[in-house]
């Protein structure tokens, strides 16, 4: 059996340490808490639940470590995300590409050119459809029906009070389940 690198580190929350600038002090966090690392105006920032902090090391120095642990994929120029914390993928309504939502509700837009390594990591063919997909669902999505107020997943039984499914709650409690 092939194990992904860093499985025990993720399970036991003992990944690599990342140093963050906190004024004059330095804060160390575990890599398992990270959602993304990105470059912003020449500075490297770590995206954590609810905050974004500048790192002590530059992205170029961090890259070998990220590649060693696996699961870190580039979704834009100088923008790396931790795919082990990925929760949801959908079409980006504001622009092109996709929108990736993570465990705490933070969302990052993914450019279409960077799609391939993510699909390879997930072992899927598309970020919008989980294969195999039912034909009603497939055709509705091919027609680019975006705001569905009908519970098409339960197309066998009519719904009296349709509820917008797939809506995302910022608190992280509802990721669009069918219940």
């Amino acid at each position: 059996m092939n194990f992904d690198p860093g499985i025990i580190a993720r399970r036991t929350h003992t990944g690599f340490n990342l140093a963050l600038r906190q004024g004059e002090a330095v804060e160390y966090i575990d890599s398992d808490e990270l959602f993304a690392i990105r470059q912003k105006a020449g500075k490297t920032c770590a995206v954590l639940p609810g905050r974004e902090v500048q790192t002590l090391r530059s992205l170029n120095k961090l890259l070998p470590t990220l590649h060693k642990y696996g699961g870190w994929v580039e979704i834009g120029r100088g923008y790396f995300v931790n795919l082990y914390r990925l929760r949801r993928s959908e079409r980006n309504k504001k622009g092109g590409g996709y929108l990736l939502t993570f465990d705490d509700g933070s969302a990052f837009s993914l450019l279409s050119d960077y799609e391939a390594p993510i699909l390879e990591f997930l072992g899927e063919k598309s970020l919008l459809q989980a294969s195999p997909i039912s034909f009603p669902q497939y055709y509705l999505m091919q027609m680019e029906v975006k705001d569905l107020v009908k519970d098409i997943l339960y197309h066998g039984c009519p719904v009296k009070n349709p509820v917008l499914i797939g809506s995302y709650d910022v608190q992280g409690s509802n990721f669009g389940s069918t219940t």
Binding site: F3, L122, G123, E124, A130, L153, G166, S177
Partner: protein, 189 residues
């Protein structure tokens, strides 16, 4: 009075010849006195089980692999379909997987949320089988996460063995009689 002669029956010669005098053999002397007490034998050391042999390299690798699988799921998140997006459910969050009347797959997570996929349960179980936490509880319709099981009980109405998964998960998962023994072993009952 005439004396009656008592005629002794004469032994036939044949019988006389057949009976040969047995030579006198000295009988073994009986030991006199009390029999000697048996000598106390030195106490034997209690039998110690043989030391287990160190596992071979292949066995050791298998053991490590089994422990790793028990500690960490080797599977990646399972994508499920909603109307707008694809949601990724982690294997450790799944409580059980069953089929609906429409022959879709219904995934129930530990929070009681339900998700759907559109493939066949058997193929999905093949995909999940590298992870030791998943067990085919019923041949046709149920795959359960062993680590999410809270109770194993017998339903008095249906007389079937059922598994429950805590307060948040409303549904129960039936267990077929043929798989019950293996399930008990997996649950260490």
């Amino acid at each position: 009075m005439a004396k009656e002669k008592i005629v002794k029956p004469q032994k036939s010669q044949k019988t006389a010849k057949a009976r040969k005098p047995v030579p006198a053999v000295a009988a073994p002397k009986r030991p006199r006195g009390r029999p000697p007490k048996p000598k106390p034998t030195p106490a034997l050391a209690p039998e110690t089980p043989p030391a287990p042999q160190p596992p071979s390299d292949a066995q050791g690798l298998k053991l490590v692999e089994a422990l790793l699988v028990r500690l960490v799921s080797p599977l990646k998140a399972l994508p499920v379909q909603t109307a707008e997006a694809v949601v990724y459910v982690r294997p450790k969050e799944i409580a059980y997987i069953t089929t609906t009347k429409d022959r879709h797959i219904l995934i129930v997570d530990r929070e009681g949320r339900e998700w759907q996929r559109f493939n066949v349960l058997k193929k999905l179980f093949e995909r999940l089988s590298p992870d030791a936490r998943f067990f085919l509880a019923h041949k046709s319709c149920i795959v359960i996460n062993i680590f999410a099981v809270k109770t194993l009980r017998k339903n008095p109405e249906t007389k079937l063995n059922e598994l429950t998964f805590g307060d948040k998960v409303k549904g129960t998962a039936p267990v077929s009689g043929g798989n019950l023994k293996e399930l008990r072993a997996r649950l260490e009952l």
